[in-house]
Point group: C2
Chain length 352, copies 2
DNA sequence: TCAGAGATTGGGAACGGTCCCAAAGTCTAG
DNA sequence: CTAGACTTTGGGACCGTTCCCAATCTCTGA
């Protein structure tokens, strides 16, 4: 440490030679202030001065120093994307990747940086919370696996503008962007009813996550709407993994062999369920119809099975919507951050 | 813009109240310099002063302002992770997520931020290059899908310390961390030979990516080592997707129905190949043995098929190794960034 | 002709750290 | 007792912006 502090820093050598605002001012023959005005699109600059400054900027390849700007503006021009998946279970779930990618894209043509913070252990959470609390980023996009995320609660009490992906279960007053899980699940059941299925089961998600809870509620809505013949609900819970879907489907078949349809709360669990059905020699969709949820690109195509009928949720749109809402607030275009629920859509393929 | 510049910035309100180094100094009854020394672990501070400063820091909940520190140190304390996947094909590949996650973890208990930059279009690339060139981050971790990535070439010529995931095909002088694809593929073939297979084909990756090229070379190495009976190589190319694996496997079967083993250059392509074999009524591993490559957690477990024998590459280790090598250089612990090739490992499951 | 309004511009004090340099204090050896 | 070395401390310039304030310049209308 002492060594690097004294000697020149090898990786920072090129930084010293970067052009500054002063240099631009000197070349353009104006003051720092004027250059600053041009950079920040202030209208009170004469066309002449503006042209000279722009020429100088182009000549030098100047770009403002972020650190200096942040310091003066007292704003970091960066947003923290916190991904909290305490469980390695969700490792293979492309949901996180898709969300992060869409946030990144939404930020692409702005000056705002995306600082990615992954939290898995409790120690990570504490570190992340400290980081955010210290005002190192202007706002937070929280992508959490959990309905009762302690991190969410912490951020809700801190004064950091935050928006979540997915409705928090504990009703903090944190704004969120979610997809309409309940209606989506209801549509899935209605579709199964229309196909003439009589005994409709479900593999539900965890009861401590809003996506799990809402999709189960939608399943029940669907049964209720279908009338007296559908009064009996058949529920087994999974944890989003394919194995859990496999296990749940076996349990359902054991409980009620007459099942002729199942609404599964995620595509990945549906993959497991399909495997269980194959092992039980049930033809899909001949004997049992299956609907998934998510429309995960790969799995929905049905490798190792028939292309999956599923409910699509607009994952990318969740990311872009989160980003724009947070930025609208930060940049004063909106007085508050409001929650929103985006529509889901039934995609009929070959398992129903 | 003018509006937010004049009025108070809603999202930045809390920033104004954060404790500063001066405040700490005042409370501890020492100078700014001394506080700075304590923060930066300078040894030339008396135990007494150090204790007082630490007490003051704890009392105020002080943390240094990143922007101010960056400005003074002329260093950003952030690393850019650039993910360049020009092709949405690779969308579902968890490789990128795993790499990013491991980099993040490697950075977890340091003060270094991870700034994520995703590039898909050419415009993205240009923007990313500009960003990096301007010295906004101390170094770059480049995770690229392409062997001849223009971004890589640009960074190689720029003076930004950079390390790549995967050997670049064009031999820029960029350092990289890669896994030993060639040896891995050879081990796969040797294993098939040991199992008594006689006609061993391969589904290769793209010829313009080092992973594709190296794994194909390893396949050929394996055949050559197996002797005269194995002189004939059977190659079809895929593009890492399951569909392409499916297509390639069908083509191989058409060319040579006597195939009794196939080394596939990725697990995902192996999933497609397995599907093709199932459609062709070949029993796996009875009639045809299959080896994949990657050991992708989900697919290797064999949903919709038998658990896949495969070659494991240490994806997470690639991420941590990239990070530590880059940091060793940046912090003056290493004079240069050296490339390294990490060992791969054959994981025998049930498809061979 | 000239006051006053409006449009431009420049000067310079922050912003919150780092780090060079010199001053003050402490100790050892001659 | 004191020069010289070493340890510890404080002062203050500087990093590259932003933005407030005052100065200058131009133009209009009485």
């Amino acid at each position: 440490m002492a060594e690097t502090a004294n000697g020149p820093h090898p990786g920072a050598l090129h930084l010293g030679t970067l052009p500054t605002l002063e240099a631009v001012a000197a070349i353009a023959g104006v003051s720092k202030s004027t250059v600053s005005r041009v950079i920040n699109d202030s209208t009170v600059v004469s066309a002449d001065a503006k042209a000279r400054v722009e020429a100088a900027i182009a000549e030098l390849g100047y770009a403002p120093n972020r650190a200096a700007r942040s310091l003066a503006r007292r704003r970091s021009d960066s947003l923290a994307v916190i991904v909290h998946e305490s469980d390695a279970t969700l490792f293979s779930d492309p949901f996180f990747g898709r969300i992060v990618r869409s946030i990144s894209q939404a930020l692409a043509n702005s000056e705002v940086q995306l600082v990615l913070l992954l939290a898995q252990t409790d120690a990570d959470c504490a570190r992340v919370e400290r980081y955010v609390r210290q005002g190192h980023s202007d706002g937070v996009l929280l992508v959490s696996a959990h309905g009762d995320d302690p991190l969410a609660i912490a951020l809700a009490t801190a004064e950091v503008p935050t928006i979540m992906a997915g409705r928090p279960l504990f009703d903090a007053s944190l704004p969120y962007v979610d997809s309409d899980n309940r209606t989506g699940a209801r549509m899935a059941v209605e579709h199964l009813v229309q196909r003439g299925r009589g005994v409709i089961a479900t593999v539900a998600g965890p009861a401590d996550m809003s996506a799990g809870v809402d999709r189960l509620a939608g399943y029940r809505d669907g049964l209720r709407a279908a009338g007296a013949n559908y009064r009996r609900s058949l529920v087994e819970y999974g944890d989003w993994t394919a194995e859990s879907g496999h296990r749940a489907m076996r349990a359902l078949l054991a409980r009620e062999p007459a099942i002729d349809a199942v609404a599964v709360a995620s595509d990945l669990m549906a993959v497991g369920a399909l495997q269980a059905l194959r092992e039980a020699d049930r033809d899909v969709p001949g004997q049992v119809a299956v609907v998934g949820f998510d429309d995960t690109p790969l799995w929905s195509w049905g490798y190792g099975a028939v292309p999956l009928t599923t409910v699509r949720q607009p994952v990318e749109q969740i990311g872009t919507e989160m980003t724009s809402r947070l930025r609208d607030y930060l940049e004063g275009r909106a007085p508050t951050i409001d929650s929103v629920t985006l529509p889901t859509e039934l995609i009929v393929r070959q398992t129903t």
